[in-house]
């Protein structure tokens, strides 16, 4: 005579996949991240809102007083900087999520536990980058509201900044995984900020036009992956477009096509032994 245990007599779920991807895995992991995020919302707000907003006001109002317009143009300095800070923030947020955040989940065996459910490594990668992208959108919205309120962004087309923010989030989320998947210790993971984040932030044309750089530095800047996103963000924020923007989009997509599979391979090697 067997014992009755209520939760054992439930109907089982069926696995539904599309092109080998199970949407439930992605939505469930995303939801898990969301609950973790809102549980510590006070700290999350500090990271997502306060830091970039303080930086933007500091640079826009502070440096903007010293440099009223970008030299050689009549563009007010805060209007020049604001679109770049939006995508700069969009770079950092998913990069943190997929480097430090992912590393902590690896160290706490959380991925091991999650993988006991019917999900795949690819779905883990997609879900984590998707959540990083979500946080980048929140960050984008907060900075944009401030910039519009100060009159630094005046064009409705700023809503299309979501396109470079999306591309940047996916690219730098994947780059974050390159570090978390190969890190022998936590100190290694912090390199992502030192060797990727800060140089990108400083040399992608957020704070000054490339024209002020010497020729050799300008050549290097052409290959800084954040630079095309800054160009796109600035175009959508000012509603001024150049033909070269299509190459900026293609460059970002090309980088994603290269980096995303690499991050998948490294994450799989890390989690499946």
């Amino acid at each position: 005579m067997s014992t009755q245990v209520a939760f054992l007599n439930q109907t089982r779920s069926e696995l539904r996949t599309f092109a080998g991807i199970r949407s439930r895995s992605i939505s469930a992991l995303w939801l898990r991240h969301w609950f973790a995020f809102i549980r510590f919302w006070k700290y999350a707000i500090a990271f997502l809102f306060v830091e970039p907003v303080v930086m933007m006001i500091g640079v826009g109002v502070g440096i903007g007083r010293l440099v009223p317009t970008v030299p050689g143009t009549d563009i007010p300095y805060p209007e020049f900087v604001a679109p770049g800070i939006i995508v700069g923030s969009a770079m950092f947020v998913p990069m943190v999520e997929c480097s430090m955040g992912a590393y902590n989940r690896m160290e706490n065996q959380l991925y091991d536990t999650q993988l006991t459910a019917p999900l795949s490594i690819l779905e883990v990668l997609i879900a984590d980058i998707a959540f990083g992208t979500t946080r980048a959108f929140i960050s984008m919205a907060s900075i944009t509201v401030i910039a519009v309120a100060f009159g630094w962004i005046n064009e409705w087309t700023v809503v299309f900044v979501i396109i470079p923010v999306f591309l940047v989030s996916v690219l730098f989320g994947a780059i974050g995984f390159l570090f978390s998947s190969t890190a022998p210790h936590v100190a290694f993971v912090t390199l992502v900020f030192t060797v990727v984040g800060t140089p990108m932030f400083m040399f992608s044309g957020i704070f000054y036009p490339f024209e002020v750089l010497p020729d050799w530095a300008r050549t290097i800047s052409n290959f800084v992956p954040l630079a095309p996103a800054v160009n796109l963000s600035r175009a959508f924020s000012t509603n001024v477009y150049e033909p070269g923007l299509i190459w900026d989009v293609l460059f970002l997509i090309g980088m994603i096509i290269i980096v995303l599979p690499l991050s998948y391979i490294l994450l799989k090697r890390k989690l499946i032994k």
């Binding site: 067997s2 014992t3 009755q4 245990v5 209520a6 939760f7 054992l8 007599n9 439930q10 089982r12 779920s13 069926e14 696995l15 199970r22 439930r24 895995s25 469930a28 992991l29 939801l31 898990r32 609950f35 973790a36 549980r39 510590f40 706490n108 065996q109 959380l110 091991d112 536990t113 999650q114 993988l115 006991t116 459910a117 019917p118 999900l119 795949s120 499946i272 032994k273």
Partner: protein, 324 residues
């Protein structure tokens, strides 16, 4: 001498939830699992015993589709784990060696999220969370932080999480390691109830009393091999007989007398082990160990006790310390 006579379990070909055949796992040069074969019947509780590094965890990870096998096959519920790992994990619950609890979420969210991840609707996941928390006596801690739970509660929560998808097969890696006796007993009660309800359980453990209490059958592993497999009583009877003779040397016993006793045991080809001042002498196949030829070699007191699984474990795997 290690016996491998029953390392291959051919007892049943049908009605098995799990069939492992010639399973091998290589990590570079290390053969972590070295061609093991066993099967587990529906409703059975099957134990994997072995010292650290024996290959238990690796075996269980391959069984759950969390680690690819180098060679051999694992069939779970008629599915090949190598080809259908996702489908297999949809059918089973897994408790990893580390709790792997989500410390950024409170207790009930840990369960809800796992249920939703496993495929339940969100509403069903919330409902089942309440049922599972009740079954594992954790309902009063539903809103607690993971850090606020005792070791026993965390372990029960880890098992509860694995039960969220109502699996008919539960795979557990050392479910009670590190728990105090009270917490261990609580886990045993709950595993016993799941077993009564028909859940098939595969578990690894270091605790012989746990294996004797819970397992219908068990396999003793070492160095990636199965050394013996069978029902606990059978295994004990086969290797160390019904009783163990304990030769307790007195404090006056000299080193030379101790060596003489050892020489005599070796000369007679006896199975024995030394534990401090005691020699434990066993006699296989149900006979009582005779010690008449030994008692004159050193001042000692002789007592007998029933043989148990730990005697077999030490007999088969030796006393050498292991590290993971």
């Amino acid at each position: 001498m290690v016996m491998k006579h029953s390392a291959i379990d051919n007892s049943h070909k049908n009605g098995h939830v799990v069939q492992v055949s010639g399973l091998v796992k290589l990590y570079d040069e290390l053969r972590a699992v070295d061609g093991i074969t066993f099967s587990v019947r529906r409703g059975e509780t099957f134990g994997l015993l072995g010292p650290n590094g024996a290959g238990k965890t690796t075996t269980m990870r391959m069984l759950a589709g969390l680690s690819p096998a180098t060679d051999g096959s694992v069939m779970v519920a008629g599915m090949d784990v190598a080809k259908s790992g996702r489908d297999v994990r949809n059918e089973i619950g897994v408790v990893t060696q580390h709790d792997g609890l989500d410390t950024t979420l409170v207790v009930h969210r840990n369960l809800e999220m796992h249920g939703y991840l496993a495929g339940l609707s969100y509403r069903d996941s919330i409902r089942r969370t309440k049922e599972v928390l009740g079954f594992f006596n954790l309902e009063t801690r539903a809103n607690a932080s993971i850090h606020a739970l005792s070791g026993g509660m965390k372990r029960r929560l880890a098992i509860a999480r694995a039960m969220m998808s109502s699996p008919q097969l539960l795979v557990m890696d050392e479910p009670t390691t590190g728990l105090d006796p009270q917490s261990r007993n609580r886990v045993w009660e709950q595993l016993g109830a799941l077993k009564e309800a028909g859940v098939t359980i595969i578990m690894s453990t270091h605790y012989m009393i746990e294996a004797e209490t819970l397992c219908d059958r068990l396999a003793i592993m070492d160095h990636g091999n199965i050394l013996d497999i069978g029902e606990p009583d059978e295994v004990v009877e086969h290797h160390v007989g019904a009783e163990v003779a304990i030769l307790q040397l007195s404090e006056n016993a000299t080193t030379e007398e101790r060596a003489a006793l050892r020489r005599q045991l070796d000369a007679e080809g006896r199975d024995y082990s030394e534990v401090g001042p005691r020699f434990l002498v066993t006699a296989p196949k149900g006979t009582k160990p005779e010690v008449a030829t030994l008692t004159g070699l050193a001042p000692m007191r002789v007592t007998y006790r029933p043989a148990h699984l730990e005697d077999v474990f030490l007999f088969l795997t030796g006393r050498e310390l292991r590290d993971e």
